[in-house]
């Protein structure tokens, strides 16, 4: 069960019209490609995708699940929006646990022994089958994937504290004074019968916020259930903020962080059906990722270009992320910036600046479909939602 209903509100303009799992990433991918590919590579062939916030483009992207080989006869990928039942008004998913609660009938159709809960906001490669084996061997009620973080970072995560037996004995959400450095990755395997019981119990608790981390896990701990940590070593990033989205994209320029070239664990994506990219006479491309359909005649360094990006002659792109269909006209400069889908940077415009060491400096962001007018300068840290903000 893939939780893909989150807004990603800290991505501001980038997620004003699309859900975070639909965010383009690392050239040809969208964030949801990572959990979907992990499922397919782990041999999981039935996946429910729970959507709520701005689901239309995400629904279209996931489609029949064919790019991930999830279009099987008996199973496959299912989009699960909130719905109405007879005699009820129907309601939005009020929390991660409530989203699963509302789709218990879907899970029951498959009569599973175990349920894997995933989030659609993370970039990583993981074999869920291995995690399931560990879960079965330990006969745990719930297994939670954890990753070691620094003690400073630990204050930003849900932290698992372990007892002397190695099992989880306490869960703290964003603790001010963390006792452990094991952060929850938002990946859970539950014994389905037990989860079902706790979901119903939690649903009837008027004080619960219906969240896995805040409510279900503490309730299971209080109920004396065996909760096992599953240590994950490798690359894992939450891309919930502009800075983390930019950082994680820059990580893709280094093959030592997350090897996307690995044929044993392919990350699959829906292809835009465009010809190979063309590097023209004026193209100078260094230390960058470029995707099919691009047409480049300018300078590009330390950048990530999604499909069908156009870079005009004499334009300069540095340390930036250009999402699908973005156009940078001749002579424009884009540095330390994120340019949204189908945005246009007109001739002579200048987006972003090099880091100046100041506190207020940050990556500049131009939202999807925005046109930055000719000669306009967009300063560092800017967040442009609408073309009217950046016409000369």
């Amino acid at each position: 069960m893939l939780l893909a209903g989150g807004q990603g509100s800290r991505l501001y303009a980038l997620t004003a019209k699309v859900a975070k799992p639909n965010m383009p990433f690392g050239g040809k991918y969208r964030i949801i490609d990572f959990p979907l590919s992990n499922c397919a590579n782990s041999g999981i062939d039935t996946v429910g995708v729970l959507t709520q916030y701005q689901p239309l483009r995400l629904n279209r992207y996931v489609g029949s699940g064919q790019p991930w080989d999830l279009d099987t006869e008996d199973g496959g990928v299912y989009i699960l929006p909130p719905y109405q039942s007879a005699g009820e008004k129907g309601s939005w998913f009020s929390g991660t646990a409530n989203a699963i609660y509302q789709n218990m009938d879907f899970i029951e159709m498959y009569d599973p022994d175990h349920v894997l809960i995933l989030s659609g906001d993370h970039v990583y490669k993981m074999d869920y089958a291995k995690m399931l084996r560990a879960h079965q061997e330990a006969e745990a009620a719930c297994t939670i994937a954890v990753i070691q973080v620094s003690m400073e970072e630990a204050t930003r995560f849900g932290i698992m504290n372990l007892g002397p037996d190695g099992f989880i004995n306490e869960f703290e959400e964003k603790p001010a004074h963390p006792k452990s450095d094991l952060a929850s990755m938002g990946i859970y395997i539950f014994d389905w019968k037990k989860l079902r019981k706790y979901l119903i119990e939690d649903e009837n608790d008027p004080n619960s916020s219906k969240d896995f981390g805040k409510n279900i896990i503490p309730k299971m701990l209080a109920g004396g259930e065996k909760l096992m940590p599953y240590r994950f070593e490798g690359y894992w990033r939450d891309v919930g903020t502009i800075t983390s989205l930019w950082d994680a994209n820059m990580d893709m320029l280094s093959n030592t962080k997350l090897n996307l070239f690995d044929p044993q664990w392919p990350i699959r994506a829906r292809s835009p059906i465009r010809p190979p990219h063309f590097a023209g006479e004026g193209a100078r491309i260094h230390h960058s990722i470029v995707t099919e359909g691009c047409d480049i005649d300018g300078k590009v360094d330390n950048s990530v270009l999604s499909a069908s990006v156009t870079v005009g002659s004499g334009a300069k792109i540095s340390y930036s992320i250009l999402m699908p269909g973005a156009v940078v006209e001749p002579g424009a400069v884009v540095e330390y910036a994120i340019i949204g889908e189908n945005a246009r940077i007109c001739a002579g415009a200048h987006v972003g600046t090099e880091p100046d060491g100041s506190e207020s400096w940050g990556v500049a962001t131009v939202g999807p479909d925005v046109t930055v007018g000719p000669g306009v300068s967009v300063p560092a840290s800017a967040m442009i939602y609408d073309s009217s903000e950046v016409q000369s």
């Binding site: 990350i267 990219h277 260094h286 230390h287």
Partner: protein
């Protein structure tokens, strides 16, 4: 488009393509970084809404089968109808079909059972992106039994040619293949009424004739049949030799031909491979080149076409080359005017030079 059926000729291997078609037919020849020639025919049909397509194959079709599979990439994998692969029935055919009329007669059982009224006939090795919907619309409106797709472009190449009457309909078919001169060049793409086609094929079968031009079209006109002309004005060329292949590949480095073959409203589909985006290294130097996904480029690439998964090590220099998928170019290697087939390995510091008139072909899986 429910009243149209497509038939693609995919059986031919041109001897002049040499090693490039040693283990494949022209139809599955890799082209433009991520395609096979047959993708253009299948995509054109699919883009026009044609859902029932027969592909005539005869031998060396392993690579073609692998590529086309069930037709899913072109949306022609259907519960009823959809893609049908047509190997020869029986064993009485020795050698390659002498002409497309013989090929059609060899799969006559299939042609007879076609439920649609019109049939589009299209060779897999003619590069073009024809608006089949517009072609069929004009054909139906004209009331003619056959419409031929012709071009005024590519005047120097050798083609069968047709001359027109004052009303634009075909006057006669010129039997000799000639270069620029009289008439219009036929691209060997036709749309025909099924009944008309069956009559002409029966004539060929009875008289033991094999050639669509000489034996079907000429006969049709002699009998007083009306044939219309549909003019295609985009880029087109037939791939019949290494020279054709090399020139057409290099034409893909020009914006005009590229836009003609890959218009956004008639996309060319192909079998997907799930490659990662291409990575350019710190010292990569790439210009005037067409580059597919999955490449890892650390050297110099100039005037080249790179297919998916090609690796160019630091210090390697490629100029005017076509490098097919998963080929690895070692450090410091220098290649000029080379066509490297799939999975070739070039060791460090190897130097290979072909010529523009005679590019050097490295067969599949060679190790140098």
């Amino acid at each position: 488009m429910t009243d149209v059926h497509g038939i693609v000729y995919a059986y031919h291997s041109s001897p002049a393509l040499g090693d490039l078609t040693r283990s494949r037919t022209n139809a599955s020849l890799p082209f433009a970084g991520r395609y096979r020639l047959i993708d253009f025919a299948l995509s054109s049909l699919s883009n026009a809404g044609v859902r029932d397509v027969g592909v005539i194959m005869q031998r060396d079709f392993q690579s073609l089968l692998d590529h086309v599979a069930g037709g899913k990439a072109w949306d022609i994998s259907r519960r009823r109808g959809g893609l049908k692969l047509l190997p020869p029935f029986g064993t009485h055919h020795v050698g390659e079909y002498a002409g497309t009329a013989e090929a059609l007669n060899a799969v006559m059982g299939y042609v007879k059972d076609i439920p649609q009224e019109h049939i589009v006939l299209i060779p897999a090795d003619v590069l073009c992106n024809v608006d089949i919907a517009a072609l069929v619309e004009q054909h139906v409106k004209s009331g003619c039994g056959i419409t031929a797709v012709c071009t005024k472009n590519n005047p120097t190449a050798v083609h069968y040619r047709l001359t027109q009457k004052a009303d634009g309909k075909v006057e006669k078919v010129l039997f000799h293949q000639v270069g620029a001169g009289e008439g219009l060049a036929a691209m060997e793409i036709y749309v025909a009424k099924k009944d008309t086609l069956l009559e002409l094929l029966a004539h060929c079968e009875a008289e033991n004739r094999f050639h669509f031009h000489k034996d079907c079209l000429a006969h049709y006109l002699e009998q007083g049949g009306e044939m219309d002309v549909f003019l295609y004005d985009g880029y087109t060329t037939r791939i019949d030799s290494v020279d054709d292949y090399y020139r057409a590949s290099m034409d893909m480095l020009k914006a005009g031909p590229r836009a003609d073959l890959f218009p956004t409203d008639r996309p060319v589909r192909t079998k997907e491979r799930s490659d990662v985006s291409t990575y350019y290294g710190e010292d990569a130097k790439v210009e005037n080149s067409l580059i597919a996904d999955g490449c890892f480029i650390e050297g110099t690439v100039k005037n080249c076409v790179l297919f998916r998964g090609v690796r160019v090590a630091p210090g390697a220099v490629l100029e005017n080359c076509i490098v097919m998928q998963d080929t690895v170019i070692g450090e410091g290697a220098a290649l000029k005017y080379i066509i490297s087939d799939k999975n070739v390995e070039i060791a460090p510091y190897v130097t290979l030079t072909g010529g523009e008139k005679l590019p050097l072909v490295l067969p599949k899986r060679s190790k140098l």
